[in-house]
Structure formats: structure tokens, C-alpha cells
Amino acid sequence: GTLDDVKARGELNCGVNTGLVGFAAPDANGNWTGFDVAICKAVAAAVLGDASKVKYVPTTGQTRFTALASGEVDVLARNSTWTYSRDTDLKLDFVGVNYYDGQGFMVRKDLGVSSAKELEGATVCIQTGTTTELNLADFFKANNMSYQPIAIDTNAEGEQQYLAGACDAYTTDISGLAATRAAFADPENHIILPEVVSKEPLGPAVRHGDNQWGDIVMWTLNALVAAEEYGVTSANIDELSKGTENPEINRLLGTEGDLGAMVGLDKDWAKRAIKAGGNYGEIFAATIGEQTPIGLARGLNAQWTQGGLLYAPPFR
């Protein structure tokens, strides 16, 4: 299975975006950072014991699923929407959701538009090879409006076109819009319209059929979420792993029982995964949270206890 391959290789092949600030982008030295990248690191830490043993494979909207299907990557952590047909027809398995998103529109303030319903006749830039172009068609159709699509290949070009005024509106997932807007010289002159025209649950995906590997990725993600819920952070994890009163935490960190063996890993797998970049909340805050230039609020992505949708199944 994939697990053995990865162990034999000593390296995790992780499919990421070619460059989306905050989610996955190489820094000036070519080191990859971001919210999606953190998933790769966590899985690598869990499986291989070393968060740096990841080979990042930049994939475009066009090549990502093939890269996964053909085995070029072991896991795809590239802001991809979980949809029915992708899960079934494309033979992928989405193992969870790491970011609840929705498609929105960004326009210039001086356009004087305050709702997406006023975009009749507008020119809209969309990134090809994504669900966005289908959502966009559906949205305008439902509202009986016409529009002019301008297809672009990458986010960088979308920005360029939008900033140059080649399109009235730029549409993609709201997280992406926020990230893009954050990088503008004048973010205050652009607004993200309130309509969310689609549900975009983004999550890591693995190949269909290798359930063991799917479980590992799924529960690594769950471990990060659960860690936040139980207050396990990278700061206190060594402390806590010595043993706590909370049996859930003990099981999670391997102090009690041997959950790791059930997926073919050792006891400490989750501990390492959490140590790699902190728990979900820490990752969020460090990469796309309100303190970062991207400045996304937790919103739907808060813990269920905080009114969000994050809800890790119990570790037992």
C-alpha cells in the first residue's frame, strides 16, 4: 500500500498549489509554507517521524487529480473542493475538510456594486480547471444574468488581470480572494461581495481504494482538530504527553493504548503530527489567521464548541 511505499521512499510526495499565498507558496529560499503545506508536514511527521521529509509537487488546476491518480503524489493537499463526482467518478477519496470555504466575488469599491446580483453584463475572471467556472455558470443562470468569462491559468495572472481592470470581478473561493486582496497595495479599495454562491469544503484527498492510507491522512487531520479542542498545543505537548487526567488526550498522544498500531503506525504518531506545526488553531493563526496579512477570521472554521463546523470524531 501507499504507506509502505512512503516508508520505503522515506519521503512523502505531497501535491500542493503552484503558489497561493497563505495556503501553499515557496518562500524566497524555495521552502514551502502555508495552511495546506502544514497538512503535508503533519502527515510526514506522523508517518516518517520527520516533518521535513516532504517533496512538494506543485500542481496546476489541470494536473492535480491526475498527479494523484497516477501515484505521482501520495496525498493532495491543494485547496480542492470535495464534490460528489470527484469523490466517485474521478476515483478520489476526500478524507475530511480542513477549510470550509465558499465562492465569492471581489470587485473594486469604486464600481459601486454591493451585491453579486448587480453584476449583470460584467466581465469576470475565473481560474480554469476548477469548480468555480461551473458554479459561476450556475449562479448567473439562476439569476438570469449574462456575463463575460475571462479564463486565466493561475492565480498570479488573475490578480494581474483584475488589478489592471481587465475584469470587473474576480471570482474564486473567498479564502483565496482574501489572500489575494491582502497582497494588494491598496486592499481597502476592493471589497468581497457578501454573496457566497457555493459550498466549497476544501480538504486533502487520497487515491480511492487504499483505505489504510486514507485513514492515516484522515486521522492526522482529525488529530490536529482534536488537539485544538483539547487544548494540546505545540508548547505544552511534551508536558501533556507525560500523561494527563484526560484519557482522550492520553489516547491521542499515545500515552495510553496503542491507537497507532491500528493504522500501521507507532504510538507517538499523533504527537509528532501535532508537534510539526501545532494544532489546527495554531496552524490557522500562523498561516492565514487574523494576525497574518491574509487576515481570515475563523468563521465556519471554528471548533464546534465555538459555533463553527470543526468537529473531530472521538479518539477511541
Binding site: D89, G121, T123, T128, A137, Q148, P149, I150, A151, G165
Partner: protein
């Protein structure tokens, strides 16, 4: 004298398969054929096994499903409810459109530059050399990106044409009597309208407008009449030696029928006007098309210029001198002696440049122009996950285009080949 007696005819020996020229090539071909079949079988077997491992099949049925996406630039009606096959057709037509426009423009530029490079004018010669070298030695993708950047950065947004209520003036005004408005997203040009259209002819796949057919028929009639006039002129020249002037007849014959049809159908231009976000009323030619077309044209034009130059240089000076010595004027020398010979040299590489241009148009990906690769090989592939089918189909279509064009070229080449001993 020693006579050599006939050696007894030996029977067939196995070594003859290798050492007998008659069988040797057969042997080799059989071996190669078996290797070929084996490797093909190996590839097919791998593919079948890989497909079944992924739980996929090889099936073109997806082409008849709803596409679900929109296309910015199209020549035939298409909406997101159309099938993938139709999206593919739209893409193919877009490929052919930009290729055809590119070939025409690149030829014009190439001929101009090629001739100017030969001119005795030092400055112009140098300028043309710089143009050719700069365009030939830098990747096409860079030119596409640069032209794209020029269009998005330098051209005004449609908004700039809006009359500012405060001042009563617009930042920009359209060119040519308000008819053409280049913007950073499209170039708005007048659209063609008819007050009394001639109905239309529905062919199922595409609908042909009757007006268009009428117009084509009128032009064809004019061309035919013109050829009759020219033939008559040649006959007169053959009989009397003097060629009657025909250029004004030609001009009339070529224009009048078309104009008549246009007037009869109530032709007029609809000027683009700014309404809402965008220009409406006219035709908005998307910048992706314009950019791709310009970049392909300038890039290929540089290559064609070299071909034209080489073609003219290939006709030896002696030909010109012989024509001059016979008393032919430079113009006649060009049309009767130099061009017919230069064309033989020029046309084959010219056609292969056309092929290159067509293939290079697949770089439309860089500007989001929805050509064959953008539809079939792009969104359709990505939405359906049928990469094997989509890419094979796309390659076959490109291959068919190439083969058709080069087949035509071979016919031409054979028809003009110089007769030799």
C-alpha cells in the same frame, strides 16, 4: 580456356534468411514488425491494466454530456447547456480562427519585412534585421506575455470611455468615428446588422445565415465575372498583341455585386456603446484573441520574412539581367520572371510556418483563449477526468489539421516542380 560449369542449384537454407539479399530485408522487416507489435501490445496492456486499476474505462461517451461551463469567445452558438462535443467544436473553430487570421497577417508582415530587408535603404534594412532577430531569438511565450501585458496595462478600461457627469467629458474617446474602442479586456468594434435578412439555412450542427450565403454568392459571381474579363483580355492580347486595360472593370466587378447585396439586405454597422459595465451593440473581440493573434503574427512574421528574403535571393541575378536585356520593365520582370520562380522556393517553408503557427496557437493557454486545448484539453478534461481520451482526441485533431495542410502543400509542390532532365 576454363569454363565454369553451373553449380547445382542448392535448396533453401536457413542462412539465406540473413545472407540472401532477397530474404534479408524481409527477415529484418518481420523482426521489426514483431518488435513493434510486441511493444504496442505492451503499451496497450499497461494502459488497460492501469485503467482497470483506477476503475476507469476508455469511452468517448463523456463528449455527449452537458459541459456546464461558459466560453468567452465563440463563433457558433454555445451555452453551458451544450455538450462537451460542442465545446470541443467551439474550441476547434477558435483554433482555426486564430490560426487563419495569424497566417494571413503573418504572411503580409513577412512579405513586407522580407522585401524591405533587401531594400538598399540602410536604416530600414537595419530596422527590419533587428525586428527579425529579436523576434526569432526570444521564446514565443514571452512575446505572448508581453503583448498581453501591454494590452492589460496600457489600454484603458471600458470605464475610461464613460462620460464623466461632472465634467461632461470622457477620459478616452473611441477611434474612427466612435467605431473602435480598444480596452484592456476586449476591443469593441462595430457589429454587422441587416434590416432585411434573407432567412437562414439550418444544417443541424451549424446554422448558416442566408444573408451571409447571399453575400458569398455575390462575391463569387464577381470573382467569376472578373476571371472571364481577364481571360478575354488575354485572348485579345494573343490576337492583337495589345492588352486592353481591365483594372477598372475588375474593380467594378469585384465590388458592385457585393455592395448590391449589402444594400438590398439593409446592411448597416451597429456602433458599440458603453452600457453598464461594458460596451454593447457592437462586437467585443476579446483581448485574448487579439493578443494571441498579434503575438503569433509578429513571431511567425519574422520567420516568414527570412523565407521571403531567401526565396527572392534564390532566383539568380542572371534571371533579372536576362529579362532586362530583353527589354522587360522591372515590374514585368518581377511578375513574369522573378515571382513565379521565387514562389516555388517560398511556398513549402511558408506552409510549414503556417503549420507551426497553428501548433503554436495552443499557447492560447497563457492568455486564457478558449482554443481546442483550452476546451477539450483543458476544462473538459479537467471536469470529466478523461485525460486519456481527451488528450488522444486532441492530438488526433491537431495531427489531422497538419496532415491536411501538408497534403495540400505536396499537391502544390508537385504541380510547380521544375522540369529537369
Amino acid at each position: 580456356m576454363v569454363t565454369v560449369s553451373d553449380a547445382p542449384e542448392p535448396g533453401f537454407r536457413l542462412s539465406q534468411l540473413i545472407y540472401d539479399t532477397r530474404y534479408r530485408s524481409l527477415t529484418i522487416q518481420v523482426v521489426v514488425f514483431m518488435l513493434f507489435v510486441a511493444s504496442t501490445a505492451w503499451l496497450v496492456d499497461n494502459t488497460v491494466r492501469n485503467l482497470s486499476a483506477m476503475g476507469k474505462d476508455f469511452n468517448f461517451g463523456f463528449l455527449w454530456n452537458r459541459a456546464g461551463y461558459d466560453i468567452g469567445q465563440m463563433l457558433i452558438p454555445y451555452s453551458n447547456d451544450s455538450t462537451h462535443a460542442r465545446a470541443m467544436l467551439v474550441g476547434l473553430l477558435n483554433t482555426l480562427l486564430v490560426s487563419a487570421l495569424g497566417c494571413i497577417a503573418a504572411t503580409i508582415i513577412g512579405v513586407f519585412v522580407g522585401v524591405l530587408r533587401l531594400s538598399k535603404n540602410w536604416l530600414v534594412g537595419r530596422l527590419m534585421t533587428v525586428y527579425v532577430e529579436v523576434f526569432r531569438n526570444v521564446p514565443l511565450l514571452l512575446w505572448i506575455l508581453i503583448v498581453y501585458a501591454i494590452f492589460t496595462e496600457v489600454m484603458p478600461a471600458p470605464n475610461a470611455y464613460r462620460i464623466d457627469p461632472a465634467t461632461g467629458e470622457a477620459a478616452m474617446s473611441a477611434l474612427l468615428f466612435d467605431s473602435i474602442a480598444p480596452t484592456n479586456r476586449y476591443t469593441a468594434i462595430p457589429s454587422i446588422r441587416f434590416d432585411r435578412p434573407l432567412g437562414s439555412l439550418d444544417l443541424g450542427w451549424i446554422t448558416l445565415s442566408g444573408t451571409f450565403l447571399g453575400f458569398v454568392a455575390a462575391v463569387a459571381a464577381g470573382v467569376w465575372a472578373n476571371s472571364v474579363v481577364r481571360r478575354r483580355a488575354v485572348a485579345v492580347q494573343n490576337a492583337t498583341g495589345v492588352r486592353p486595360t481591365t483594372w477598372w472593370k475588375s474593380v467594378l466587378l469585384l465590388t458592385v455585386p457585393a455592395v448590391v447585396v449589402l444594400v438590398a439586405t439593409g446592411f448597416h454597422l451597429n456602433l458599440p456603446t458603453l452600457k453598464g459595465f461594458n460596451f454593447t451593440g457592437g462586437t467585443n473581440v476579446s483581448n485574448s484573441l487579439v493578443v494571441l493573434w498579434l503575438a503569433l503574427t509578429l513571431y511567425t512574421g519574422a520567420f516568414i520574412a527570412e523565407i521571403v528574403r531567401a526565396g527572392i535571393l534564390a532566383v539568380s541575378r542572371g534571371q533579372t539581367e536576362a529579362a532586362y536585356a530583353l527589354g522587360l520593365r522591372p515590374g514585368r520582370t518581377m511578375s513574369l520572371v522573378i515571382l513565379p520562380q521565387a514562389l516555388r522556393v517560398i511556398v513549402p517553408p511558408l506552409i510549414s510556418q503556417f503549420l507551426n503557427l497553428t501548433k503554436n496557437s495552443s499557447l492560447a493557454i497563457a492568455v486564457g483563449y478558449m482554443d481546442l486545448r483550452g476546451t477539450l484539453g483543458g476544462i473538459t478534461l479537467n471536469q470529466t477526468g478523461r485525460e486519456l481520451e481527451a488528450i488522444l482526441l486532441m492530438m488526433l485533431i491537431y495531427l489531422a489539421i497538419s496532415l491536411i495542410i501538408s497534403g495540400l502543400m505536396n499537391i502544390y509542390n508537385n504541380s510547380v516542380k521544375l522540369k529537369e532532365r
